[in-house]
């Protein structure tokens, strides 16, 4: 029998959003990139922070922030060290 490796990331798809997307007006290619650090590394989080820092934040909580950006979550690829969100637009 096969069992997934513990390191294998896990994918969740948000079918509700992914079903009706239209990219007709997404004309501008160049992206904007924002990177915000709250500690120098994953192993040096402040004592007050949750043990897994931002990775403890549920994906639903990010939705309100992403609404302000005009993006919606299409799917999430979860792994031990990083969660990768694929977004609309």
């Amino acid at each position: 029998t096969f069992s997934p490796s513990s390191a294998t990331p896990h994918l969740t798809i948000n079918h509700e959003v992914a079903a009706d997307l239209d990219s007709s007006n997404a004309f501008e290619g160049p992206e904007k990139l924002l990177e915000v650090w709250f500690a120098p590394s994953a192993s040096s989080l402040p004592a007050a922070a949750t043990p897994h820092g931002l990775k403890c934040v549920p994906s639903d909580t990010w939705v309100a922030m992403l609404d302000m950006v005009n993006c919606k979550i299409l799917s999430v690829l979860e792994s031990d060290d990083v969660d990768a969100y694929l977004l609309s637009e």
Partner: protein, 404 residues
Amino acid sequence: SSMFVFPHKLILKTCGTTTLLLGLQRLLHIAAVHAGFPFHNAKSLDDIRAAATPYRVFYSRKNFLFPDKQKGPHRSWKQEVKYLDDTLEGGGSAYMVGKMNRDHWYLYITSPNQTLTPPLTPDSEPNCQPTPATTISSNGGSSAGGSYSQNDETLEILMTDLDPENAKQFFLSHASAVASDKLTVEAKNARKNAQESLGCLSGTPDELGVFGHCEGIDDESDNRVDGAKGTEIEELTTEGHALGSVISEHCGLNDVYPTSVYPDAKVDAYLFSPCGFSANGVIPAPPNAEGQKPGATHYFTVHVTPESGFSYASFETNVPGGQNGRTTAEIIEHVVNIFRPGRFSVTLFEAKGQSANPYSLSDGTFKSLSMQRLVDPVRGYRRMDRIVHDFEDYDLVFRFYERE
């Protein structure tokens, strides 16, 4: 667009006319309230203005093709810088890299916040329940105790004027045809395998002899299978994630970090309708000889706007180049060959002190590892620009290429 959430940082990369910076204040608030990072600008977390104090911030983008169509502070670099300065209460530095009249690149960067040098979080903490957030004292935090991240580097390739034949792959009509062909081949192979496992061989009746008749694979069951397959084919040739997966494989993106080298790598891709493509890859460190995972998980992300006139593709990764995996030069050449752009820029942003053996120059100075990595030529392209920025704790190498 894509977002990457690590325990200590968040990366948000957005396309089109998104209003990325308008989410910054909420992001800082979430980091304080839900992740417990220290804040300084409010008395309690009940205050909606409460915002976690970032350790450092980077904001970057290429020059926009249609800046007047952008919204919010994104209509000009000057407005974006003002917005960042206001939100982050100053302290940032803004740069423009490259030729002003061509494909230049902008960067806003803050210095590391020396008040945020906390002790390590105990490994024994059992769950994700936030501990009460604290404010930062005016005389700063405790002394430095954290271990700094290893192999902190980011490679970004920004490509414009994609070859029309290569760009075609990222249109729904083309992708559906590829998916349909692929499924047809798979269905034929599956049927052949089923026939062979039941003792049915292909060939003329004379050639087949006693094995010419195959029970269990009659016309009726074929029709039932074909009906189910038809529905499956329709879904797999129209649904964005299914098509994204097919195109990732077809265009060669899955081979940038092949599973033969990175066995736990996983790619999540989406093909938009009528065109456009996004993909995120999560790349756990390859196991060492003892089968142990020696390092952290990294990521890559790709975004493609294939329409002629403003075709564009970006590739970004923080997977360390070299070591046991593919070199930076190999990655660049592989990615460029997927899109065959008319011109592209490469930026490598690398934390200082990463190189164990800095390259010694004849004048007695040293070249950083990032400078060594970007010396290789890219076949079929002429290098037009090479700019090196020596930041406080990072080296930035920017190169610009045009097709020969």
